[in-house]
């Protein structure tokens, strides 16, 4: 959790612990980072996330399994960036819809509940992808 501008209200981190640890315990391979930032005006959240993901120090092969949710208060956008290993799981319509739900919940219920919703949705969607992957492994598609 990265929140240098302190957008989250007091006690929010504690509330997010439970869903975050549930996700982590279920998928220990995956590291999810939530970052609430106020980028400089004109800075693209997508480009910033791309740069941060690849240039932050301490990178190793495991970073391909990272997932970065960047919330930019300057442009008012949410940007979800997966490592290469998670692209097939994350870059899909259900994840886009989960992100839309998170954005709507920010407005209606506040940051804490929105991020809790996102963590729960993320676990559900990763579960679905895991089941799909397992089914495909059990019966691989026929190749011509």
């Amino acid at each position: 959790m990265v929140d240098p501008a302190r957008f989250l209200p007091a006690g929010a981190i504690e509330e997010l612990q439970a869903p975050y640890h549930e996700l982590q315990a279920r998928f220990p391979q995956i590291v999810l980072t939530l970052a609430l930032l106020k980028l400089a005006p004109g800075t693209s959240p997508r480009e910033f996330a791309f740069w941060w993901f690849n240039d932050a120090p301490g990178g190793s092969e495991e970073r391909q399994w990272h997932l970065l949710l960047l919330i930019d208060a300057q442009s008012g956008t949410l940007c979800l960036t997966p490592g290469y290993a998670l692209e097939s799981a994350v870059l899909s319509r259900p994840w886009a819809e989960a992100l839309s739900t998170t954005a709507a919940t920010v407005v209606s219920r506040g940051w804490t509940e929105a991020l809790c919703t996102f963590l729960t949705d993320a676990r559900t969607l990763l579960d679905a992808h895991w089941l799909q992957t397992r089914a495909e492994q059990a019966s691989p598609p026929d190749h011509p």
């Binding site: 315990a25 279920r26 998928f27 220990p28 391979q29 959240p45 997508r46 480009e47 996330a49 791309f50 993901f53 690849n54 990178g59 970073r63 391909q64 990272h66 970065l68 442009s75 008012g76 956008t77 949410l78 940007c79 979800l80 960036t81 997966p82 490592g83 290469y84 290993a85 692209e87 097939s88 799981a89 994350v90 870059l91 259900p94 994840w95 886009a96 819809e97 989960a98 992100l99 839309s100 739900t101 998170t102 954005a103 709507a104 919940t105 407005v107 209606s108 219920r109 506040g110 919703t117 949705d121 559900t124 969607l125 990763l126 579960d127 679905a128 992808h129 895991w130 992957t133 492994q137």
Partner: protein, 260 residues
Amino acid sequence: MIPLLFSLALLTVGVPGDSDHATETPQALPAAPTGHVLDRMDWLSEERRLTLEAELSRIHKEHDVNLFVVVWDRRLPDDQRPEDLAALIGHTWSPGEVWGTVLLTPGAINRPIAVTGGKQLTPEEDAHLAAAAAYSVDFGRKAWTDQDRLQQTALVLSEELVFARQTMTDNTTAITGSAAPLLPPASFLSPPLLAAAGGLVLLAVTLLWFTLRRRKQPTPEPAPEPATRTFPAPAVQTRLGAPWSGGSSLLVPLPTKPSA
């Protein structure tokens, strides 16, 4: 009931800016949408909205059933139930005899509700429609995403309302139709037909016996799901010289506050 509904027409709704500091101002129910979907938050994708519009318009045209899908963008006052708002929308917007409203409120973005009603319904018909609404919500819960949940609820409810309306029409026809004698003609009681009926009964009993016997056989226990789940390492192809991520196409703006 009606006075309550019309008293709701002047809903006191909040300004959903910072949810902790929302103030409440009087606000009238918006005018009926030109179609059947009202989503001022643009929460539904364009593709999904068009799909819903097309199906609900077809059902309205062919069966005279009005179903509205509403994504409400304002917080309800604490003493107002979403069900009352949904009923108000149905009563106010629907010119037809049978209507339904599937409503999503900011307070329950993952739990759509469904309310049904109509003009001059008997208590039995009213109860039938209410059961259809409950079933559609229950069915919608099985969907993965919130948007899917809303769409499934609406589509299932539309089918249920069409069926209910058809049943109501059939009943009316049966009551007002000709009072023909309902006794079977004497030829139905002839020995060959009785023998055939007996054979069918025997066949049905045999099939039932086989089915019950198969059910009694124990089924193997499914293997327990692992608590920890890992994905196999995919074949990764780096792009743009970036070692760990190729960037993202998932960018979503925060919705504009209606009060802004």
